[in-house]
């Protein structure tokens, strides 16, 4: 592929990536709304019952309130994460905390992993790992690798997302119990186009994918 074809392919795959994440997000948010909706409906039912002489118990009300509170917090968490992700497209290149960005991506991917009964374990440093690069394209590359891991998993497997900032440049390591699905020719060329745009090196073996990123130059 030449550079122009690469850019077109990356652009097309970017849209798919955004689509996949927002579809998962909207499905989960719909679940949250559905729960709040049913609990609001239950409150209306209880009030209607009370008007007809069926007393409402304190315990029942507490249960409904707790469910609404839990789901509101869950919904707000989801919105915060998708908002952070949306802002990762603001600048093609920017200075950002890679650990925080990967943590946010992992949270957004939790539902996809839950659907396959797979644990997505994060091993991310607590202190910021600042780099100057494209947060969006890094997430896209990690997501593609994660998708290939999810294509191979069995229920109960583990996928680990690790960020090692102890060497020269930071290294993102994705390991999967059952390995990764072999990329097609097209997938391989998109991943290498992404690596090129990120000025990164990708190393792969049976059970792991490593993305070596350039260190921040002050």
């Amino acid at each position: 592929m030449n550079d122009s074809n690469d850019n077109n392919a990356v652009h097309e795959q970017s849209l798919r990536f955004i689509g996949a994440l927002t579809a998962s997000f909207s499905h989960e948010l719909n679940n949250v709304v559905s729960i709040v909706d049913q609990n609001a409906g239950l409150l209306s039912d209880l009030i209607a019952g009370a008007r007809n002489g069926r007393p409402i118990t304190e315990e029942r009300l507490e249960k409904v309130a707790a469910a609404i509170q839990r789901q509101t917090e869950r919904g707000l968490g989801l919105i915060r994460r998708i908002n952070k992700f949306a802002h990762s497209t603001d600048d093609p290149r920017t200075r950002f905390d890679l650990g925080e960005t990967l943590g946010n991506l992992a949270s957004l991917c939790t539902r996809l992993c839950d659907m396959k009964k797979v644990a997505l374990v994060r091993e991310l440093p607590e202190s910021p790992v600042t780099i100057d690069n494209s947060p969006f394209l890094i997430q896209m590359l990690v997501f593609r690798m994660l998708t290939r891991a999810l294509a191979r998993v069995n229920a109960g497997d583990k996928i680990t997302l690790e960020l090692d900032a102890n060497g020269g440049g930071p290294a993102i390591l994705l390991q999967a119990t059952n390995g990764f699905a072999e990329p097609s020719e097209e997938e391989r060329s998109i991943e290498s186009a992404l690596a090129k745009l990120l000025n990164a090196q990708v190393e792969s073996d049976d059970r792991s994918n490593r993305i070596l990123l350039p260190a921040l130059v002050e």
Partner: protein, 142 residues
């Protein structure tokens, strides 16, 4: 006749609230939080209607539906789908679900669909009973 409903969804806060609302409307409701659990439950007792979520971890709604119908083809299964998941709802119907309803499910619409499914369930039970009686008659030459 009180309809016995099995509600299958991994979102416990959802099943708790919906089950309470259905019970307040005269249904007898039990809940299962996964496809495998629901498959166990249908082998232990008869449910007139099963309300089954499409997207669940481990075993999704379509797979659960197929296994339920393989166990008993007469089961009346209503699918709950995500908002805007008409395509998946149609796929569920093609696989033997009686109908589908999008989340957040409007309670009166759901009750209407449950009532229809319960009527079909009763008719099928009666037909099966008639057939069994007629088989006994035939066997004994009456």
């Amino acid at each position: 006749m009180t309809a016995k409903v099995l509600l299958v969804d991994d979102e416990v806060d959802f099943t708790d609230a919906l089950a309470a609302r259905m019970e307040a409307r005269g249904l007898e409701v039990e809940a299962a939080s996964s496809g495998p659990k629901a498959l166990e439950m249908i082998q232990q007792r008869h449910y007139d209607v099963i309300v089954l979520d499409l997207q669940m971890p481990e075993m999704d709604g379509i797979e659960t539906l197929k296994r339920m119908l393989a166990y008993n083809k007469d089961l009346q299964v209503l699918m709950l789908t995500g908002h805007g998941s008409v395509k998946q709802g149609v796929e569920a119907v093609k696989n033997g679900a009686v109908d589908f309803i999008e989340k957040p499910a409007e309670i009166e619409e759901l009750m209407g669909k449950i009532e229809e499914a319960q009527q079909t369930s009763i008719q099928l039970l009666e037909q099966n009973l008639d057939k069994k009686i007629s088989d006994i008659y035939k066997k004994r030459g009456w």
